[in-house]
């Protein structure tokens, strides 16, 4: 009886040991050439612009022109 229990315990330990040796894929859904990360939101999808892309475009265009000192000083 004791010998049988001992062999069962050894077999169970061996099975558990083999499980520890297994390898799991670390990239869950790998597709070559496609972005794998989290999705991003456009810069106008926030409380300030409230999804108004035209308003964001205007703001950026105005800021861009402040880099043109020919227009700033004339």
């Amino acid at each position: 009886m004791m010998t049988r229990l001992g062999s069962i315990a050894v077999a169970a330990a061996l099975v558990l040991g083999l499980v520890a040796c297994s390898e799991r894929p670390q990239v869950a859904q790998y597709k070559q050439g496609t972005y794998q990360g989290k999705p991003d939101t456009p810069p106008y999808q926030n409380a300030r612009f409230n999804g108004d892309k035209a308003a964001w475009d205007r703001e950026i265009a105005t800021r861009a022109q402040s880099q043109n000192e020919y227009k700033r000083t004339n």
């Binding site: 972005y35 989290k38 991003d40 456009p42 810069p43 703001e59 800021r63 861009a64 000192e69 020919y70």
Partner: protein, 202 residues
Amino acid sequence: MARMKFLCDAERCIECNGCVTACKQEHEVPWGVNRRRVVTINDGVPGERSMSVACMHCSDAPCMAVCPVDCFYRTEEGVVLHDKDICIGCGYCFYACPFGAPQFPQTGAFGVRGKMDKCTFCAGGPEPDGSPAEFAKYGRNRLSEGKLPACAEMCSTKALLGGDGDVISEIYRDRVTMRAARGSKSGPPWGWDSAYGTGTKS
């Protein structure tokens, strides 16, 4: 649609490193990582030229092509960003980049490479806009505040231009015309062809 680009006017850059400082301050970039730096050609020789260099957010970005885990994406504004939760810090993007933009913080005692860090065009990353998580990983998201990159807006001589490609190329064209009227020549903007191709508008 705006296609965000950088343009460095080598005739104007005075190597003040204001852009480098502005970037480091704005995003609290750690020691050892320089998202932007100033490179001087023929330093000390009459006629030397300086250029501010960072990720140019290429139209056909080689970093995106070589990344083995596909952590890069391009926003609809043409800004090339990456997800640091996916990056494994392999360094392939550093070898592929013609501008040496990707940076790797030395995180371990034995110089283990950390996750890649680079210029985000002040557009943050895939975390929620303006969130502490986004700031910690990628820095401030100025684009979502309706602002342009800090480096370009802080440039004292306006050598570094950032913004919609059509707008900044028009600004540069005005300068070249004014210089030509004074009899001085200007070359094509450095890195522009490498980053955005020749004869393309995208």
